[in-house]
C-alpha cells in the first residue's frame, strides 16, 4: 500500500510538532536568542532610532541566526538518535522532505511573529504597511525554511554537521536575504515596495523547493 504524499507530509509535520512541543528547551533556546539580541540592541541604542535599512538588516539577521540554532539539526538529530534508519525505511522521500520543511516554515513563522512584535516594541519602528511587511516576511521565511531543510539533509548525508551547513547556507540564502532586507527597508521607511523584487524572491523560493525536491530523491534512496 503506497501512502499518499500529502498524508505523509501531514504525518511528518505532526510528528515534528509533537516531539517539538515535548522538548521545550529547544524552543526556549531559539526564542531566548531573539529576545536577548533585541533587548541588547534596544538597550545599547538608548532610545535612538535606527535607519530603516539597518532595522531591516537587523530584523533578518536576528531571524536568520535564531532559526540556525535549530534548523541544521533537523536531520542530524534523527541520525544521532537512531531514528533516521526507520524514517528512511518507511518514509517516502518527498513526504519526509516537505513534512520537515513545513514544520520549519511553521516554526519560522512563529519566530518571525515573535521577533516582529519585539522589534516594533523595542526598536521603535514607524508605521508600516502590514500587508507588504507580511508578504516580504512570508517570502523570506519560505526561502529560509526551504533552503535550511534541504541543506540540513544534505549535510547529514555528508556526515558533517553544522560547519558545512553554515558554509553552504550563506550562498544559497543570499538571493532570498538581499531582496528581503531591501524590501523590508522600504516597508520600514514607508516607501512603496517594488513587487518585481518580491516576485523574484518567490521565484527563487520555488526554484529552491523544486531543486531540493529533485535532489532529495537521490539523497534518500542513495546506497
Amino acid at each position: 500500500m503506497q501512502s499518499s504524499i500529502f498524508h505523509g507530509i501531514k504525518l511528518v509535520f505532526r510528528k515534528e510538532f509533537l516531539a517539538g512541543m515535548r522538548c521545550k528547551a529547544a524552543w526556549a533556546a531559539i526564542f531566548m536568542f531573539a529576545l536577548t539580541t533585541l533587548s541588547c540592541v534596544s538597550l545599547a541604542l538608548q532610545g535612538a532610532v535606527l535607519e530603516p535599512k539597518l532595522q531591516a538588516a537587523l530584523f533578518w539577521m536576528v531571524l536568520f541566526f535564531s532559526s540556525m540554532t535549530g534548523m541544521d539539526r533537523c536531520f542530524a538529530e534523527e541520525e544521532m538518535s537512531g531514528t533516521f534508519l526507520p524514517l528512511r525505511l518507511y518514509g517516502a522521500a518527498q513526504a519526509v522532505l516537505f513534512g520537515k520543511m513545513l514544520y520549519s516554515f511553521f516554526l519560522l513563522l512563529v519566530l518571525a511573529l515573535f521577533i516582529s512584535i519585539l522589534f516594533f516594541i523595542l526598536l521603535d519602528v514607524g508605521s508600516v504597511s502590514l500587508p507588504e511587511f507580511l508578504a516580504v516576511a512570508l517570502a523570506g521565511v519560505l526561502g529560509l525554511s526551504g533552503a535550511g531543510t534541504f541543506l540540513a539533509a544534505l549535510t547529514t548525508g555528508a556526515g558533517v554537521k553544522s560547519g558545512l551547513f553554515s558554509v553552504l547556507m550563506l550562498p544559497v540564502i543570499l538571493p532570498v536575504f538581499l531582496p528581503a532586507i531591501f524590501l523590508t527597508g522600504r516597508v520600514f521607511g514607508g516607501d512603496s515596495m517594488p513587487f518585481s523584487h518580491l516576485g523574484g524572491m518567490l521565484l527563487y523560493d520555488l526554484l529552491l523547493m523544486v531543486g531540493g525536491s529533485v535532489l532529495f530523491d537521490y539523497f534518500w534512496y542513495e546506497e
Binding site: 510528528k15 509533537l18 515535548r22 526507520p86
Partner: protein, 209 residues
C-alpha cells in the same frame, strides 16, 4: 517469488577487506540465518541486502518473479529490526507505531492495535502513557517487533532481533518469523545464538578475515 542475490560482492572498510567475491541467493519462503564472529560483517551483509549501502564490486539485486525491483519499490516491501534503529523518544509507543504505519499508508483500528500489543505482550497503558524514551530496552524492542508485524512487509531483515528480550520475547520473534516464512516472506536473520540458528532453513556463515 522474491529473491535477493549477491553476485560477486566485494566490500572493504579502510584496509579491511570484509567481503570478496561473495555469492548468495536468498529466496522467499524461508528463514536464512547469517552467522559469524563479531566483526565478520553480519550487519553489513544485512545493510547490503537492504540496499542501504552499495558494494565496492559486484552487485546486490532484489527481484520478484525474475523482474528486478528498483530501490524505492524494494524499500517499500521491506521491514527491519536492527539495534541501530530507535523509536522516537518523545512519542509514545502507540504514536511511534501509528507514525511508521502511516508512512506506509496503513492505519489500524484501536482494536487491531490492541491485538497487536497483546501479540508482542505489551500492556496497553505502557504503549499510550509513557514516552518511548522512558520504556525499558526490552519493551522498546517489543514495540519495534509490533511495527515489524504490522507493516506486513514481504522482506524481513532482522539483526539480533532477540537482543534484550526475555524468553517469552524470544518465542514471539521465532513464532512470528516461522509464520512469516510459511506465508512466503523472505526472512534474513543475523545472529550468533545457536537456538536461533537451529530454527533456520538455511545458514550463511561469514568467515572472519
Amino acid at each position: 517469488m522474491m529473491t535477493i542475490s549477491f553476485d560477486s560482492v566485494g566490500l572493504s572498510f579502510g584496509a579491511q577487506r570484509l567481503f570478496d567475491s561473495l555469492h548468495a541467493t536468498l529466496p522467499s519462503g524461508q528463514i536464512t540465518v547469517v552467522t559469524g564472529q563479531n566483526g565478520s560483517g553480519k550487519s553489513t551483509f544485512l545493510q547490503l541486502a537492504a540496499k542501504f549501502i552499495a558494494p565496492d564490486t559486484g552487485k546486490v539485486v532484489a527481484a520478484e518473479d525474475g523482474s528486478i525491483l528498483q530501490k524505492d519499490a524494494f524499500r517499500s516491501r521491506l521491514a527491519m529490526v536492527t539495534p541501530e534503529w530507535n523509536l522516537y523518544a518523545r512519542l509514545t509507543a502507540e504514536e511511534n507505531l501509528r507514525f511508521f504505519l502511516g508512512l506506509r499508508g496503513m492505519e489500524l483500528s484501536a482494536e487491531e492495535i490492541r491485538v497487536l500489543w497483546e501479540r508482542v505482550e505489551l500492556k496497553w497503558e505502557d504503549t499510550r502513557i509513557p514516552l518511548a524514551g522512558k520504556l525499558s530496552t526490552g519493551m522498546r524492542q517489543r514495540v519495534k517487533l509490533a511495527v515489524l508485524l504490522a507493516v506486513e512487509a514481504d522482506v524481513w531483515i532482522l539483526d539480533e532481533p532477540c537482543a534484550n528480550l526475555d524468553a517469552s520475547g524470544w518465542e514471539i520473534v521465532l513464532r512470528a518469523a516461522r509464520q512469516a516464512a510459511s506465508e512466503g516472506r523472505l526472512i534474513l536473520w543475523a545472529t550468533n545464538d545457536p537456538r536461533e540458528e537451529a530454527a533456520a532453513d538455511a545458514v550463511i556463515h561469514l568467515p572472519w578475515n
